[in-house]
């Protein structure tokens, strides 16, 4: 996983609620068996509209997506996270995230930043007024800072923050407990089914 420490970049306001993972990446894109090339499918249906916010010249190169509440609801497709990252996003700000999306994001190093809805709307207004505005995300300090001053702190648990700061993989961490897993397996109920 790519480590996340600090990031400075411009942001793009996506003023829609319930941006489900089918919108982030439509199902037709899920047929790929590789892990790359998903940026082309990001918001594929919406991007056909030239007025869609990601198509506007002032937002090209933005790396922080500031979206309405309930971002990433629906399907468990991690392809949604891959598509956002491969397009160039490092963080998504929303008032609420779908649980599976949030989990997938933190596994891949895309930072989900949850802030109150009025704060998110305030950010969207500021960005719309000045798309060149830069924000800095400081994960160590749990801060989202605006270039003209203004600091917003966000919550993230210590463990996830540490994993993101270090860019650590869960599998390697869990495999350190292989013995405990073996001990657990020895005590499982005898009637539990096997597929073999």
């Amino acid at each position: 996983m790519e480590a996340f420490t600090t990031h400075t970049g411009r942001a793009v306001p996506l003023r829609r609620s319930n941006v489900d993972t089918d919108q982030i990446i439509p199902a037709v894109w899920l047929k790929q068996v590789s892990r790359t090339g998903f940026e082309k499918g990001l918001f594929a249906a919406w991007r056909e509209d030239p007025e869609f916010v990601l198509n506007r010249p002032e937002y090209q190169g933005a790396s922080i997506l500031v979206a309405g509440p309930d971002f990433g609801t629906g399907s468990s497709r991690e392809h949604a996270v891959w598509a956002l990252q491969q397009y160039g996003f490092r963080a998504v700000v929303s008032a609420r995230f779908g649980d599976i999306f949030r989990n997938n994001a933190t596994k891949m190093g895309l930072l989900p930043i949850q802030l109150p809805e009025d704060v998110v709307e305030g950010m969207q207004d500021k960005i719309a007024a000045n798309p060149a505005k830069e924000f800095t995300i400081d994960l160590e300090a749990r801060e989202l800072r605006c270039d003209e001053g203004g600091v917003q702190t966000f919550e993230i648990d210590d463990y996830t923050r540490w994993r993101l700061l270090e860019g650590l993989d869960d599998i390697g961490l869990t495999l350190r407990h292989s013995d405990a897993i073996g001990d657990y397996e020895a005590k499982r109920q005898p009637w539990l089914p096997v597929t073999a």
């Binding site: 003023r15 829609r16 609620s17 319930n18 489900d20 089918d22 919108q23 199902a27 037709v28 899920l30 047929k31 790929q32 068996v33 590789s34 892990r35 249906a45 309405g68 509440p69 309930d70 609801t73 629906g74 399907s75 468990s76 497709r77 991690e78 392809h79 996270v81 609420r96 995230f97 779908g98 649980d99 599976i100 989990n103 997938n104 596994k107 891949m108 809805e117 648990d157 210590d158 463990y159 869960d170 599998i171 961490l173 869990t174 495999l175 407990h177 292989s178 405990a180 897993i181 001990d183 657990y184 397996e185 109920q189 005898p190 009637w191 539990l192 089914p193 096997v194 597929t195 073999a196």
Partner: protein
């Protein structure tokens, strides 16, 4: 303090817990399909890892599979490659697979319960959000992403924090003609698509206890549409009766021992939920969605809402956008909304009882002119059972298309899709923009409403016929 059903199942699977760290949670059953697994198997290969417990893993082909001509190679080369990749991966890593054409093939969430692999008290995961279906048995079952699929393949565990607990208590009796699907659509409309976020929902109360296992699966299936991590229902005699004698269910002395343990899987009287919602079943009527998220639903007898009727500006904006996408005018009675496609199937409503419910309504009637009705059984076993009961003949005599098993038009990864502007009444789980095909418009309904709608070409309850 007492513990909830979910607490009990969760606690029994903690391999390791340490202050400030997520728990290592053991997974009893890992279901795999072709869409969310290829990159996970690749990850194993790159790291020289193996599947720790292929004997607790089972795979099926469901999302991409065509529902006609299943013995021919898949025409879409990208879909074909994905299915072939699953076959290669299962062969290489020793995972049991039910491929297209196999009598055991079907939607991943239909075959688990059908085989008796889904049992009370288990932890079950799959790279698929509708894994919550299996919670109907009192299992803790939830969807994961591909990184976590790889994690489970490698370690048979997940790194987890215990979610919060939410109770949805449904008192009273569902009126005649009101089904599990109407109930869950009404619950989602009530609590919203984010209402269950961070929680496991336990469905309780008289109306839940009265549901069949298939109805319970429909309810738990759509927990994710209410934003919940999982949905659960405590096991009872209905559960045991469904399980007994299934291929992978315990037998003999094991069966008795298992039942004794399963009976302990109920929420203690003094347990406390973080959130609680109470619903009166007797007030419910057939329910349909009018918008583009599953929370945008209303009783079939109601009209398309005025966006201005939503106090919350975010909901108002979402409703305006939804009506535009759906091509609907506020104030139109939902019964006047015409459809050109009816889809009966999916992991929500593709089981035998769902097909029986649809067949009962359409028997002796005809699908309206200009309407296409697709019946897609959830598994080949469901298909065989339906054919044994003659349901296929009921459907084809009415003018519906009788198909092979798969996810089909629920998400249109195979050729079963809506064309731009087409409108469906669908027994599936998501009415998102473009979900059933780019530009397609979806109304979520129960199998009975789907069948009645096919007859009239307008959103219709069986009682209206």
């Amino acid at each position: 303090m007492g513990r909830t059903l979910a607490d009990k199942v969760y606690d029994a699977h903690v391999v390791r817990s340490a202050e400030g760290e997520p728990d290592v949670l053991y997974i009893d059953l890992h279901l795999v399909h072709e869409v969310t697994s290829p990159q996970a198997f690749d990850g194993l290969r790159m790291a020289n890892r193996t599947v720790r417990r292929p004997d607790l893993t089972i795979a099926t082909e469901d999302h991409n599979v065509p529902t006609t001509d299943i013995l021919a190679p898949i025409a879409d080369p990208v879909s074909r490659t994905q299915v072939e990749t699953l076959r290669k991966n299962c062969a290489e890593f020793g995972v049991r697979l039910h491929p297209m054409g196999d009598a055991g093939q079907g939607i991943v969430h239909v075959i688990g319960p059908q085989l008796g692999l889904t049992q009370p008290g288990m932890t079950i995961v799959c790279g698929d959000s509708h894994t919550s279906t299996h919670g109907a048995f009192g299992a803790l079952a939830f969807g994961i992403g591909t990184s976590e699929v790889e994690h489970v393949l490698a370690t048979q565990t997940l790194s987890q924090r215990k979610p919060k607990m939410m109770a949805v208590t449904v008192n009273g009796e569902l009126p005649y003609g009101v089904t599990a699907k109407d109930l869950i659509l009404a619950i989602i409309a009530r609590i919203g698509t984010g209402g269950g976020q961070g929680h496991i929902i336990e469905y309780r109360g008289e109306a839940i206890r009265s549901l069949s296992m298939e109805g319970r699966m429909t309810v738990c299936n759509m927990s994710i549409e209410a934003g919940a991590r999982a949905g659960m229902i405590a096991p009872d005699e209905t559960t045991f009766a469904y399980l007994e004698g299934r291929p992978h269910a315990p037998s003999g002395a094991d069966w008795e021992a298992a039942k004794e343990y399963w009976r302990s899987l109920r929420t203690d009287d003094d347990a406390v939920f973080d959130k609680e919602v109470v619903i009166d079943a007797s007030e419910l009527t057939p329910f349909v969605t009018w918008g583009t998220n599953p929370g945008q639903g209303a009783p079939l007898a109601a009209s398309v809402p005025e966006p201005s009727s939503f106090a919350d500006p975010t909901h108002r904006a979402a409703a305006e956008r939804a009506l535009e996408y759906m091509g609907l005018t506020a104030g139109t009675p939902l019964r006047d909304v015409t459809v050109d496609t009816v889809f009966v199937g999916s992991c929500t409503n593709g089981r035998i009882e769902d097909l029986r419910a649809a067949a009962e309504v359409i028997k002796g009637r005809k699908v309206a002119d200009g309407v296409r009705m697709l019946i897609v059984p959830g598994s080949m076993k469901v298909k065989a059972q339906a054919e044994e009961e003659g349901l296929n003949e009921v459907f084809t005599a009415a003018g519906a298309e009788w198909r092979e098993a798969g996810c089909s038009m629920c998400l249109g990864m195979n050729p079963d899709q809506l064309k731009p502007g087409e409108r469906s009444a669908s027994t599936s789980n998501r009415n998102f923009e473009g979900r059933q095909g780019k530009g397609g418009r979806t109304h979520l309904v129960s199998p009975a409403v789907a069948a009645a709608t096919a007859v009239t070409g307008r959103l219709t309850a069986p009682a209206d016929l």
